[in-house]
Symmetry: C2
């Protein structure tokens, strides 16, 4: 079952510039910056009342975020729903006709199992499911 | 101060089809459908752990959502932050160099004061501030 929105992923060209905007113009506080080598991104996290903003800067021209920036420019890249049973969530989506990018969950950042649904079958929204590996709800 | 993410606005071509997806494929429950004549949209709301998904279908070819769909296709249109003082939030954004779409808050849906920041100065994210008119935090 979906418990909430875990985070919004936002593609940016410069993490430093974007962090400055979220801190100075919106008054939010960056909780940390992390490089995720497998996704070729550097990320910055903000806790916004329990949901997170995750800024994503590509660290390589072949990062998926680099392709997104080239095609669409800066903007919201994906939405991640926290679920307490990612396998069941994926099965229900697949059974209702949704195309999955990942048939099986894999290890994402911050100790979570994650998997993505294809935006072609989610009305244009790149959609992530995520579940903490200890089985607790994500936030 | 920003208290949380009030909602995510998502542009869709058919509200009926998109509601079906969010209900059948994600297991969320539509809380209501409302027409907002001033914005020329029909909206459907889902409560997702306190944050809301707001699906937006244009009711006229000159709706801002119709233009968005034409340019970008279906997808996330805006993010709305709940604030306890929208005037102060707008002033802080403007003072830090952000271009405002609305200098003054106006009446939005669900009894809230709302105003938007221009995506050209928010790293590509059409950003809304909203505040319940009774002054309480929005969720």
């Amino acid at each position: 079952m979906i418990k909430g929105i875990d985070h919004l992923g936002i593609a940016v060209r410069s993490l430093d510039e974007a962090v400055k905007y979220y801190e100075q113009s919106l008054g939010l506080k960056c909780e940390g910056i992390e490089e995720v080598a497998s996704q070729k991104v550097r990320t910055a996290f903000f806790n916004v009342g329990g949901t997170h903003i995750e800024l994503l800067e590509p660290t390589s021209p072949d990062s998926p975020i680099a392709s997104f920036l080239e095609k669409r420019g800066e903007g919201i890249h994906h939405v991640a729903f926290a679920t307490d049973d990612i396998e069941a969530q994926l099965a229900a989506a697949r059974d209702s006709g949704v195309k999955l990018i990942h048939e099986k969950p894999f290890d994402g950042a911050a100790g979570k199992l994650v998997a993505f649904l294809h935006p072609k079958s989610t009305h244009g929204v790149l959609t992530e499911f995520c579940q903490p590996k200890d089985g607790a709800a994500a936030h």
